[in-house]
Amino acid sequence: MIKPAPTEYRFTVPRNLGAVFGRLRTPGPILWILPAALCVTLIFGYSIVDLVQQSFKYRGDWVGFENFSLVLTDPLFRIAIFHNFLLLFTVPILAVMSFICAVLLFETRKGMKFYRSAVFLPYILPIPVIGVVFGQLLQLNGALNSALRAMGFDSLALDWLGDPKQALWTMSGIIIWKEVGFGTILILARLISLPLETLEAARIDGAGFFRLHFQVTLPQLRPVILFYVINEAIVMVSWVFNYVYVMTNGQGGPGNATVVSELYIYRSAFQNKAPELAATSALLLLLATSVFIIGFFRIQRNINKGVFDE
């Protein structure tokens, strides 16, 4: 692969007259980047500055850290954060399952296209749709339980979403069901572009299926798996609102069994009309997620190689 050095931007003696006009008409990178830069600065820059301000105020007056102590002592906030923390345990499961699915698809010739589309199907279904369909499927007398009872597993026919003891785990199961397709496609795409020679060489040396994929394939897939893991960790901490909102009618129930930080923030702002407290908890969430920035910078160090590359 050719790794080009980006063109140095400096004034050079143009090679011909056309290039002179070219330079004049396009004054370097600034114009190219400007529209996107303005939009990003407005949406992110403005918001984060305003968020910090709001979290130190109450009805426009400066109150110091009052909001923070209110939020941090709110038991519901702690519960919400704890639930996000629990959801992080789905990330390793997702990584392992995606890797296995990708390898299986890679090794299958017959029907690979069909399997691939099927495995990816959950990823393109809208979360509200998934929420509604699973909501029906998992009811006490829903399709899943009637199938379980028909097969004689009566004791497994649980009240999946109605019982606080397993509601969050049911939710995790649904999230895994949805997210595994993305990981599979991501890893499979990388797997297909790996140089075939190493795999063939290992095969000729007599490496079996497991040795081949754990000792030869896996190390080469590390960057893409790392990318997926960080991506999913961010999803679990900050992008599960949709599941919870749809499946519990915006309540995070039963009881508080599925309240997550996003729902807490949404409810503080729009149901309890306390935007300052919502801003404070949002700021705390932002600080918590900034841990993942470190992970992203590790990936960024590889940017010259390209994330999906080696």
């Binding site: 809208p126 900050s238 930080s261 992203f296």
Partner: protein
């Protein structure tokens, strides 16, 4: 398997096939229930949720597609398509600005941009809502479109920058020697090479914007401005007595994504390996 397989290998292959079939079945089941359910009567669904619809009827669809449903559908289409279009254009030009020129502070700006991918959308919710209220832009499409563009840009720029950097510099130099302006080079050399990543990005962004709920819930509050995802969230309680109607509504809501994916699938995998030009 071109050589003769030992029984052990054969068992291995069979086991892998079985696992794949199991995984596939699990992936398909909810979609199956959704589509077959939409074609049944309420009674049929409750009695035998798993069976195929004996005499398919489309009453669920006509019941779902009335009232505000078409309006929601149009709203979602408008917001999603315009947000994704603007995002792709802005991201492609910005990525070219990052990839083609080396300027002081570039890597810092790029790093900052990448770190924005970590910011949870809910963090922006309250400041942007306050801003929207001040401008009187709550329940306007332009507000939501702007927010979506802002949120989709960091990842889009990142992906395209990665890809543009891997375009062989010889191709670009050749265009420049021929006297092409930067814009001309971008349009006639860079863009034609970037089909797969652009399509991938379009699909990923379409999926994201069409499915987004939290921001649509907050920024489009009036009934006639609701997005489809917000609309169908309330659908469940409204039609709780007619599951086929609910399932029909869900099927319609999924259809645009399904069609997009079918058309883009061919490019999707190649696009995800963006960053390496080899093999294309």
């Amino acid at each position: 398997m071109n050589k003769k397989s030992t029984p052990l290998e054969l068992a291995g292959v069979t086991a892998r096939q079985l696992i794949l079939i199991l995984i596939t079945a699990m992936a398909i089941v909810p979609g199956y229930l959704m589509i077959t359910g939409s074609l049944k009567t309420q009674e049929e669904f409750l009695n035998s949720p798993w069976s195929l619809p004996m005499n398919p009827n489309f009453q669920g669809y006509s019941a779902a597609w009335n009232d505000q449903f078409p309006t929601w559908f149009r709203n979602s289409l408008l917001v999603t398509v315009s947000a994704v279009l603007f995002t792709i254009v802005m991201a492609a030009t910005a990525a070219w600005g990052f990839a083609h020129w080396k300027w002081r502070g570039r890597d810092t700006v790029l790093g900052l941009l990448i770190s924005l991918m970590v910011v949870p959308p809910v963090v922006l919710l309250i400041p942007l809502f306050t801003l929207g209220a001040k401008l009187g832009w709550i329940s306007t499409f332009r507000m939501l479109i702007l927010v979506y563009i802002g949120l989709m840009l960091p990842f889009s720029i990142y992906l395209l920058t990665n890809f543009f950097r891997a375009i062989p510099v010889s191709l670009i130099e050749a265009a420049e020697i021929d006297g092409a302006s930067d814009f001309r080079t971008f349009r006639s050399v860079v863009l034609p090479l970037s089909g797969p990543p652009l399509i991938t990005l379009t699909i990923v962004n379409l999926l994201w914007a069409w499915n987004e709920l939290l921001l649509a819930l907050v920024f489009l509050q009036s009934d006639e401005k609701k997005s489809l995802m917000v609309g169908i969230t309330g659908f469940q309680s409204r039609y709780s007595l007619s599951i086929p109607t609910i399932m029909a509504g869900m099927t319609i809501a999924t259809l645009p994504l399904f069609i997009t994916y079918i058309f883009g699938q061919r490019y999707f995998i190649t696009g995800l390996t963006a960053g390496s030009v080899k093999g294309e």
